[in-house]
């Protein structure tokens, strides 16, 4: 049955096609309206298509078309009777569409007479209507409009059928008589086309109107039919002599299949299978390559939604196909892959022995990135607590080897820019893995490497298709090679990226590098990298996923600093992350619900799409514990030092708030979560009870997540003791005149040298007004603690100087800056008071203001996370309102500032606190 196509590959079908082309062309060209298909009809059609008896099916479909056509003609007649041009116009559009379908179903050369008849009728009626001026005037406006447009449409349409119409006018009867035989011939045509569906498809697609949406249905039909018989077809085709398959025929078929891509109703899986089949019959390596590229992109199409992920088996096949592509590329080095220029139509005709480069359209990097993204997405979607997730994770080496091969190939062809991109993908799979995990992955890749690749698909292939025309041996390695340590691997990849990557690639690689260094406890290296790269300054302008990566790197850096005992550094890395209470969101490790506003489903979907897969998570509990403990170690002595100091500087607002809340509780139960533990420890520390604090902290079970747990806990113990000593001295120094060193070191279980060093440091920094009495080894306290009156007097003078300063500024602005400054000036004063009562210091309000301004400006820019953006706008709005000079009470103003401040951490990440952090981690700017 199908043999026709194959036995007479050249001329016959070609002729037919050209005929069809002529016919199809005009109809397709003029129809511009959307497909308004009857879903029932369509469904019916395809349903019946599946049944075995093809002949009957086609007949019924054709009959249906004709029925539809005549029904529409009937409608038109009715509309003419009531002179309803609007519905007439609709019917006309419909009939045109239907005509096309009919044509396609019947494969008719001639337009059905029924249609011509309708056209003639319509033309006559139109002439009448136009002639009758009075009637025209009486028409409703919409009707008249429809009439006019009808006139034009008809004129245009009828031009194409001029001959036929004239013939019909001359001899209507004869045309009518002609009909039955014509149908007969149509039938025979139809049968044939069913038998060899490829012809239909090709004839349809060869026309210039390829993207005409109206072709959907017939195309689908073609596919459906083809599907039902596909295997049979393939067998048949293979049983033929391979020599009879020419490049042309394969190419033609390939074009057909590709053209169907993306159409409504095109079976995606089927397309993949068809293309896969075509790869086997490809005549030249270039063609094979070309088809393989299409296979891969068709595989990407299998799952069109943005939220779902590609089916895993398809993904695996996709990876294998990519490997084969690389095999081909490596074997035939004269084939170049390019996506810049549209290559010559017949470029792939050139055989393997063609000397000179053969250009094939394709983009390896884009494919690879897509594969990676799909992998990532699948991990996002799969429930991390299932076995499936672990199974999926085991596929990672598979991707890594592909990436490695692609990168090697790209380096070989000296496309380093692309290679850098691929290297980044590899880096992003490695950077979060500590050495242990890396080793595990390496072992996995080595052990299962042989079994997994190649065998399974081969078995499947062998069963059906013993050989393809172009056999490519597996040239590229199917097993990844890993460096001994993850660090060396990172170093190799990262240095390549730094050399050739573009800005974004470099920034991401740098962040991964920082993360990885931090993971390996190399705090100073990763800090240096961070400061040298100036990422903090411009991370604001980067895309969201890079910002997430930045947040992750900062979190990891904080953990690293903590493990190294650098409490201040750890705190400054982490405090920003926690200042907004949106850690989960910032790290993309979950969606946090906000009390203040609802997220639109769109926002939620966006957020879900950027989530990190579970295995990449930074343990949130550990992070929280580290942050709170750091805050505790810094804040508790700080609180003790400035009990009644107006310009107390808060080290950690978050911690303060938590502590206040926990202190308000009437009854405190035993600690349950991380927060409770730290709060309990803080309460003990405030009293100087270091042992209890240590015990509580030690009882946290998250410590088991730390690699060198003993060491860290030891460090923590020492720190707690030290801070307990400091707190004790701050709190109780006023009660003593002298204190002996021995007693102190006994109290806090420290060596005398340590105690001496700590106390000396406090003396030098003038935190403790005391000095040593060397002969007796005592601390002698100078009793010069300020009285309350004196303290208040100091506060007063400070406020006075703030007032004077702001007055000066105001006059300066007024006198120096010229007119028009009235409003800003008032605003400034306004903020001044607010700030004064919040912070009570002159230096602070400036910070606040400059920050506010920045926020106002930054609202339009990319604030990460949608919530933050919303907040930003609020803040910006408030700022604007302020600017218009609306007076706000001091209290209100304060609140406003608080609000803005609270919003700072998450929206203006890195910008506001950069300065302070730059100081604390100060390494200076590097040239």
């Amino acid at each position: 049955m199908a043999s026709r196509f194959w036995t007479q590959p050249g001329s016959d079908s070609e002729d037919e096609e050209s005929d069809y082309e002529e016919e199809v062309e005009p109809t397709g060209g003029e129809t511009t309206t959307e497909p308004g298909l009857n879903p029932y009809l369509q469904a019916n059609a395809s349903d019946s298509e599946d049944s075995d008896d093809q002949k009957r099916v086609v007949r019924s479909a054709k009959d249906k078309r004709f029925d539809e056509l005549s029904a529409t003609v009937h409608q038109m007649k009715n509309a003419m009777n009531i002179n309803d041009w609007v519905s007439l116009q609709e019917s006309f559009d419909k009939i045109n569409k239907q005509l096309e379908k009919v044509m396609r179903v019947t494969e008719a050369v001639k337009v059905p007479t029924l249609y011509i008849k309708a056209l003639v009728l319509l033309e006559d009626f139109l002439g009448q209507a136009l002639a009758n001026k009075d009637a025209k005037k009486k028409m409703s406006s919409s009707n008249a409009k429809a009439l006019n447009s009808m006139k034009q449409k008809l004129k245009k349409n009828n031009k194409q059928y001029e001959d036929l119409i004239n013939k019909y006018r001359e001899n209507p009867e004869q045309s009518e008589d002609d009909k039955p035989p014509e149908e007969e011939s149509d039938d025979s045509d139809g049968t044939e086309s069913v038998i060899d569906p490829n012809d239909i498809v090709s004839s349809d697609n060869e026309g210039p109107d390829e993207d005409d949406p109206e072709e959907d249905e017939p195309t689908e039909e073609g596919w459906q039919k083809k599907m039902s018989k596909k295997d049979k077809l393939m067998d048949k085709q293979f049983s033929k002599d391979p020599s009879e398959i020419t490049w042309d025929s394969v190419n033609k078929k390939f074009k057909e299949v590709v053209a169907a891509r993306g159409r409504k109703g095109t079976g995606r899986f089927e397309q993949v299978e068809q293309l896969t089949f075509l790869t086997k019959v490809a005549k030249t390596p270039a063609q094979k390559l070309e088809i393989f590229f299409s296979v891969v992109s068709a595989q990407f199409d299998v799952n069109p939604g943005l939220n779902g992920h590609m089916p895993i088996n398809v993904w695996k096949k996709c990876v294998q196909n990519m490997q084969v592509i690389l095999d081909i590329l490596v074997k035939y080095p004269n084939i170049a892959v390019d996506d810049m220029v549209e290559p010559d139509e017949n470029e792939s005709q050139k055989g393997p022995d063609y000397d000179g480069t053969i250009r094939v359209w394709g983009n390896l990097v884009a494919f690879l990135e897509r594969i990676d993204t799909e992998f990532f997405k699948s991990l996002q979607c799969i429930d991390p607590h299932t076995r499936e997730y672990i199974e999926r994770l085991r596929d990672e080496p598979m991707f890594l080897v592909l990436a490695q091969n692609v990168q090697e190939y790209l380096e070989q062809v000296e496309n380093y820019k692309a290679a850098a991109k691929v290297a980044l993908r590899r880096v992003e799979l490695i950077y979060y893995k500590p050495q242990e995990v890396y080793d595990a992955m390496r072992k996995l890749a080595e052990h299962t490497g042989d079994g997994d690749y190649g065998e399974e698909p081969k078995a499947a292939e062998e069963g059906r298709a013993p050989s393809s025309f172009i056999v490519v041996p597996e040239l590229v390695p199917r097993k990844p090679t890993f460096s001994e340590s993850s660090r060396t691997m990172m170093d190799i990849l990262v240095s390549l990226i730094y050399k050739y990557g573009d800005e974004r690639t470099k920034a991401r690689a740098m962040l991964c590098d920082i993360y990885h260094h931090a993971l390996l406890d190399q705090f100073s290296t990763s800090r240096d990298l961070l400061l040298m790269s100036h990422l903090q300054d411009n991370v604001q302008q980067m895309d969201i996923s890079t910002q997430i990566l930045y947040n992750r790197a900062m979190a990891q850096l904080g953990l690293c600093a903590f493990r190294n005992g650098l409490i201040t550094e750890a705190h400054s890395c982490l405090s920003e992350l926690y200042s907004g209470g949106r850690v989960k969101e910032l790290l993309a490790q979950g969606v946090s619900q906000s009390r203040y506003h609802e997220k639109t489903p769109e926002q939620e979907r966006l957020e879900r799409r950027r989530q990190m897969p579970y295995h990449m998570h930074i343990n949130p509990e550990l992070l929280e514990a580290v942050h709170l403990i750091c805050a505790m170690l810094l804040e508790v002595p700080n609180m003790a030092a400035n009990t009644h100091d107006a310009k107390r500087r808060l080290v950690s607002k978050t911690f303060r708030r938590l502590l206040e809340v926990s202190e308000k509780q009437t009854f405190t139960g035993p600690p349950e979560n991380v927060r409770d533990h730290v709060m309990a420890a803080s309460r003990a520390l405030v009293k100087g009870d270091f042992q209890k604090a240590i015990d509580v902290i030690n009882s946290l079970d998250i410590w088991k997540l730390l690699r060198n747990r003993e060491h860290v806990l030891e460090m923590l113990k020492a720190k707690i003791k030290e801070e307990a000593l400091r707190t004790y001295l701050f709190t109780f120094s006023s009660s003593y005149k002298t204190l002996s060193l021995e007693q102190l070191s006994m109290l806090f279980d420290l060596t005398e040298a340590q105690t001496h060093s700590i106390v000396s440091k406090m003396m030098i920094n003038e935190e403790l007004l005391a000095s040593w009495d060397q002969p007796t080894c005592c601390i002698v306290f100078h009793d010069i603690e300020q009285t309350r009156l004196q303290a208040l007097a100091f506060q007063l003078t400070e406020k006075l100087s703030i007032l004077a300063e702001s007055n000066e500024r105001a006059t300066e602005a007024r006198i120096g800056g010229g007119g028009g400054l009235d409003l800003p000036q008032r605003r400034r004063d306004n903020q001044d008071y607010g700030a004064g009562s919040v912070a009570g210091s002159g230096g602070r309000w400036q910070d606040n203001m400059s920050f506010n301004q920045r926020q106002g400006g930054g609202a339009g820019r990319t604030g990460y996370n949608t919530g933050g953006r919303q907040f930003n706008q609020n803040a910006g709005g408030g700022y604007n309102r302020d600017r218009t000079g609306q007076y706000r009470g001091t209290g209100q103003n304060t609140r406003y500032q608080d609000g803005a401040y609270a919003g700072s951490g998450r929206s203006a990440r890195g910008s506001q606190d950069t300065s302070s952090r730059m100081v604390s981690l100060n390494k200076g700017l590097r040239a």
Partner: protein, 437 residues
């Protein structure tokens, strides 16, 4: 003591010829076996044109009279090349040596070039030859000749890159001739060029700065004013960053300069922070000493470190420079360093103590009791220390020094009224001006 030897870290940043003095010093100090040093000397000389010298060293190293053939060959080659270069540069050299003709040169470079071209047929090729010749002279060890030629070349050269390398050459030559004043001038000139020139990449600029700093060590530790100038140079942000990123070992010299300087500088505190930060990448007894005194307040540790510092200084080619006075040879920098370091310890110690036993103090200062007493008395007399000695109990008692609360309050508010008056005045003035208008 070889563990604190910085020569291996310094050498890559120095000119071959500049490394030579360092090797000489090492040989003198006997830090490494002689053989090893001689071998590295030969290696060093192999790439230069000082073949005769290399031959001498070879002889003394292997105690033979034979010289390897390649050295002989090289000598012939060098001489030939010298001849050739001499010839090609001859017209210009002759012109420069001709006093009368030399007078014709004016301050205008364009004019000079024009004039040379027109009247003496000296074109760019000859000028280029002069540069090559000068370079060759330098390679041969004839530094004074090289310096002269390079000076002339710079007056005539139009290529800014060439100019820069000529300047480097001149600096090296001056350093090797130990003309510290001139070298310092060249150094400053070079620094200006490096800071103002736009380099192809920031890395290049940093590299240039690193070289400059390394080379400058020769000058700074020999020039009278060098110790303050080294702080001025090294402590600039750009240079400090360069040190931190690429040559943390230079911290030693900066630290020494800070300690040796009598005057306390405001940057000192920041520098301590730098030392703390760089702990992981570089530390030696000198930086550790500062950490002990200013970070950990570990005075016993500081004591120990001070002794180690002495060793380090003696073995450092820059710091341990000897001065022969009659029969004595002293290391002036060591004495100064120790004196100041002692002062550092004492100062800090006093700040946190109210009463100190003289005996303990003497021990801490590495002095005996009498000396310590005299030392303290001198300090009190020069009003550097607000303290009294209680000889009965043998202690020093610090005078407490706390600002009076009332004074503080007055200080705070004193300026306010003045400021307000000024403000009022300004406003009135403004208002009157507006009325007048």
């Amino acid at each position: 003591m070889a563990e604190y030897d910085l020569t291996p870290r310094m050498a890559p940043n120095l000119d071959r010829h500049l490394v030579f003095p360092l090797l000489e010093f090492l040989q003198e100090r006997q830090m490494y076996p002689d053989e090893q040093i001689l071998k590295s000397k030969i290696e060093l000389l192999n790439k230069t044109n000082m073949v005769d010298y290399a031959m001498d060293i070879h002889k003394s190293l292997y105690h033979t009279e034979d010289v390897p053939q390649d050295m002989v060959d090289r000598r012939v080659e060098v001489v030939a090349r010298l001849k050739a270069l001499e010839e090609s540069a001859a017209p210009l050299v002759n012109f420069l040596q001709n006093a009368a003709a030399f007078q014709e040169l004016k301050a205008d470079r364009q004019y000079n070039l024009q004039m040379l071209n027109d009247r003496y047929q000296i074109g760019p090729e000859q000028i280029e030859a002069l540069y090559q010749y000068a370079k060759f002279q330098f390679e041969c060890g004839n530094y004074s000749g090289a310096a002269d030629y390079l000076y002339q070349y710079r007056a005539l050269c139009t290529n800014s890159d060439r100019n820069l390398s000529a300047l480097w050459g001149k600096l090296a030559a001056e350093i090797l001739m130990q003309n510290w004043d001139i070298a310092l001038e060249e150094l400053n000139r070079l620094k200006e060029i490096i800071d103002s020139k736009s380099f192809s990449s920031p890395m290049n600029q940093v590299q240039n700065r690193i070289w400059l700093m390394h080379w400058s060590l020769f000058i700074f530790f020999n020039h009278d004013n060098g110790r303050t100038q080294i702080i001025d140079l090294f402590n600039q942000d750009k240079y400090l960053n360069a040190i931190q990123t690429h040559a943390p070992h230079l911290v030693r010299y900066l630290a020494t300069a800070f300690i040796v300087n009598k005057r306390r500088r405001p940057q000192f505190k920041d520098f301590i922070k730098v030392i703390q930060q760089e702990q992981h990448s570089y530390k030696d007894p000198i930086t550790e000493f500062l950490t002990c005194v200013y970070v950990n307040y570990d005075f016993d540790g500081a004591q120990k470190k001070m002794r180690e510092c002495e060793e380090v200084i003696l073995n450092d080619p820059f710091l341990g420079k000897r001065v022969e006075e009659g029969n004595f040879s002293t290391v002036p920098l060591r004495d100064e360093f120790l004196e100041n370091a002692r002062l550092f310890i004492f100062e800090t110690y006093c700040r946190i103590h109210q009463r100190i036993d003289m005996g303990v103090l003497a021990e801490k200062l590495n002095l005996n009791y009498e000396e310590a007493e005299r030392w303290i008395v001198n300090l009190i007399r020069s009003s550097k220390l607000d303290a009294k000695i209680d000889s009965e109990s043998g202690t020093v008692i610090m005078e407490p020094n706390h600002p009076n609360v009332y004074e503080q309050l007055i200080d705070h508010t004193k300026a306010l009224s003045g400021r307000t008056y000024k403000l009022v005045g300004q406003i009135l003035e403004h208002a009157q001006a507006q009325i007048a208008r």
